[in-house]
């Protein structure tokens, strides 16, 4: 009887120890390979990283990266469509295994998700029509500057904007750009690609980048605890940086050369 109790107790303690020490999803990589399917976020309102082509199919450099990752893992790709603000929640809520949606590396975000080494870079600029006179941060005073929530510009622009700058937030890049084109804001903070893309689409406004606020690197993110998946992704980034695949994807979609990527 005592023996039985002791066994039972040991079994319970063992179970408890396993349950207590198990990280979020330590076997994520094994599960993905076993299920032959990986779920990756797809943000399709963020040209040239992710956008819908004329057949309404996702395309762009980050979608291409996701396809390449699925191919190299030998599994099927399931794209989980997200908006900018949903990229991190989609990971945390287990809707996606990887966030590959030009997610810039910041210490603030690193409190919530784990980043791999960067596989791309982008610059944040203040852009506006030619008639708006802005040459540096000091000129932002008294101007209405639009930007999209949950982006790098949301974090970087307030740091350099002097008091007296009126910053307003929109939920999507499309709304932010529309606000600039209709004159609801004087200028916007956005990625350099977005500004040059906007300048091409609305030539009558003569939109130009005014000054660069910051350059940032973006990376693939995993839910905290997924060591094995993170390790595989880092290996993938290393291999594809050296064989030129990353630069090829980036330059095809952005039309800009990829800068040297650091690692950590």
């Amino acid at each position: 009887m005592t023996n039985m109790l002791r066994c039972l107790f040991a079994a319970c303690a063992g179970l408890f120890a396993v349950a207590a020490s198990a990280p979020a999803d330590a076997q994520a990589l094994d599960r993905i390979i076993k299920e032959k399917k990986i779920r990756i976020t797809a943000q399709v309102d963020s040209a040239p990283f992710g956008i819908l082509d004329k057949d309404n199919k996702p395309t762009g450099s980050e979608i291409e990266t996701a396809r390449q990752i699925a191919k190299d893992l030998g599994v099927e790709l399931e794209l989980v469509q997200v908006t900018g603000p949903q990229r991190i929640p989609a990971l945390l809520a287990d809707r996606a295994d990887l966030a590959i949606s030009s997610l810039s590396i910041t210490t603030e975000r690193a409190k919530t998700v784990w980043f791999a080494s960067p596989h791309g870079a982008l610059s944040i600029v203040i852009g506006g029509p030619a008639r708006t006179n802005i040459t540096g941060p000091a000129d932002l005073v008294g101007k209405k500057i639009g930007m999209t929530r949950a982006t790098l510009e949301e974090q970087e622009v307030p740091k350099i904007a002097p008091p007296g700058t009126q910053i307003v937030f929109f939920d999507e890049h499309a709304a932010t750009q529309q606000a600039l084109m209709t004159g609801q804001v004087d200028a916007i903070g956005a990625a350099a690609f977005l500004i040059s893309d906007l300048a091409k689409r609305a030539p009558q406004l003569n939109i130009t980048p005014k000054f660069t606020v910051a350059t940032a690197f973006y990376a693939i993110a995993v839910k905290p605890g997924n060591f094995d998946l993170l390790q595989w992704v880092n290996t993938w980034v290393f291999v594809n940086k050296n064989n030129g695949m990353l630069a090829k994807i980036y330059e095809t979609h952005t039309g800009v050369k990829l800068v040297d990527l650091p690692t950590f």
Binding site: D171, Q178, A179, G183, G225
Partner: protein
């Protein structure tokens, strides 16, 4: 369940959320008052006004009731500047809510007025009441009493619907929540607090409407 709730981050920014909730309340009450004024005029035109005015009022009501509030908002904020009318985000939000609530309330008031039997109005005339007295005492008063619950429900829907104005950078409760969520990544905590705030505002408004109903319509009975 490995998610660790951290409400501290939300409570640090609680005053910002309260400010957002306050703007939600202001937008709702502003839309209620202006919208009701528009609706009273609209309902009068539809039931007793000149015939040539009825078609445009009907067109307004049907246009607004059969299109999404978000699109109406975009038209006011993004399309009107092209015609030289530029409203800032909060003003555009109020305008859209007034126009939206006005259309629904017009239809509700019209239904209430038409529910008054013609015989009742004839009885008023037989008692030698003036037109104004008839409209005020025999038509409007019982009509509003009949449709009051529908108006109150529509108003709460308006208050909850005001969350979409965050899309044009108005700074009400949903907008503040979205901004907090995107800077702290604490989606569950932020939205749980926002949900409770909306619930509190909705319950408070419903209680206020119940009190108004009692004060205006129930006490009357005792006279």
């Amino acid at each position: 369940m490995t998610y660790v709730f951290q409400f501290g981050i939300v409570f640090d920014q609680f005053d910002r959320m309260l400010a957002g909730a306050w703007l939600t309340v202001q937008l709702s009450i502003g839309a209620l008052l202006l919208g009701l004024a528009a609706a009273t005029a609209g309902a009068f035109v539809l039931t007793a006004g000149p015939r040539w005015l009825r078609a445009p009022v009907t067109a307004y009501v049907e246009l607004i009731r059969n299109t999404p509030l978000l699109i109406q908002l975009y038209v006011i904020f993004f399309a009107l500047p092209g015609f030289g009318l530029r409203l800032d985000a909060n003003a555009a939000a109020l305008a859209a809510l007034v126009i939206n609530f006005g259309a629904y309330a017009t239809e509700i008031l019209r239904a209430g007025i038409q529910s008054i039997p013609a015989g009742q109005i004839e009885a008023g005339r037989a008692l030698n009441l003036t037109t104004v007295q008839i409209y005020r005492l025999i038509v409007l008063f019982p009509a509003v009493k009949t449709v009051f619950p529908a108006l109150a429900s529509q108003f709460v829907l308006l208050m909850l619907g005001s969350s979409v104005v965050s899309a044009i950078s108005a700074s009400e409760l949903t907008a503040v929540s979205n901004t907090l969520q995107s800077t702290t990544f604490r989606a569950f905590e932020v939205y749980i607090v926002a949900t409770l705030m909306y619930l509190a505002v909705a319950v408070a408004f419903r209680a206020a409407f119940a009190a108004i109903y009692w004060a205006v319509f129930m006490r009357e009975r005792g006279r």
